[in-house]
């Protein structure tokens, strides 16, 4: 365990009710693994099924947490936003109480722009895969 659910807010800018990861389980330079239990009060639930939008946000926040952990010694952790999503394929959606495992692989980095691949699973079943472009953003420059 690298970052537990209790401390995840130190590493991602999102707050309730928009936090879509629990724990950051593994981190290496180019691979991050998170988990996320689909809670009954998740805002993206519809008839006990978690919508695809939450899966994409889960991949983005898994990426942000991994990058945040790797850069934790830098002062003033930047916020980030999704610059783009490509090659997205949806296979299935999780249900309430399912535990999602998400694996993010860093493909390339250009300055504060990261291209990552995200895949989410419940047990061994893959639900979604996509490529994600994340852009780090210094908050001051946008205010």
């Amino acid at each position: 365990m690298k970052i537990s659910k209790e401390n995840i807010k130190l590493f991602i800018p999102q707050r309730e009710p928009f936090i879509m990861i629990d724990n950051l389980i593994e981190v290496s330079e180019d691979r991050f693994v998170t988990d996320f239990k689909v809670s009954f009060d998740n805002i993206f639930l519809e008839r006990a099924v978690l919508r695809e939008f939450a899966l994409l946000e889960n991949i983005a926040q898994s990426s942000a947490a991994g990058l945040g952990f790797l850069n934790k010694d830098l002062l003033g952790l930047p916020d980030g936003f999704i610059g783009g999503i490509s090659n997205l394929v949806l296979y299935d959606l999780p249900r309430v109480n399912d535990c999602l495992h998400t694996v993010v692989t860093k493909l390339t980095q250009l300055g504060n722009m990261y291209l990552l691949k995200g895949e989410s699973y419940v047990a061994d079943k893959k639900l979604v895969e996509c490529k994600l472009k994340l852009v780090g953003m210094a908050r001051d420059s946008n205010e």
Partner: protein
């Protein structure tokens, strides 16, 4: 969570033809999504912009859809509802064998906030 009528309100819709339409919508900066994204600094999440497109399509077709795949979407500019209170979403639909191919973009005046190409299936 349904966004239509809560996160955004439809102001008007212009149909070019049955395969193309534009909807002007107003964002609700007081919505609970903005409480967490981000506190004191509301930014419309990219995935919420995707859900807005999804619900506009469902409303247009009067049926439930699920996304099958998305070849690409780009989020080009931060959409802060306090700075941009309304946007126009343009949608183009092409019926393919067994699925619906969609191009969408969201803009306001000279600003383009997102562009996407995705395929949807009837639920």
């Amino acid at each position: 969570m349904k966004l239509t009528g809560h996160f955004f309100k439809i102001l008007n819709t212009t149909h070019t033809d049955s395969k193309e339409f534009s909807t002007r919508l107003a964002l609700n900066p007081a919505h609970i999504v903005y409480k967490g994204h981000f506190p004191g600094y509301p930014v419309t999440p990219g995935v919420i912009q995707l859900q807005m497109v999804h619900e506009l399509l469902e409303g247009h077709l009067s049926k439930s859809l699920k996304m099958k795949n998305m070849s690409q979407c780009k989020f080009l500019k931060i959409l802060n509802p306090l700075e941009t209170s309304a946007i126009t979403v343009h949608l183009e639909l092409v019926e393919q064998q067994g699925y619906l191919s969609v191009k969408a973009r969201g803009e306001n005046e000279a600003d383009t906030f997102f562009k996407l190409r995705a395929n949807y299936q009837t639920k």
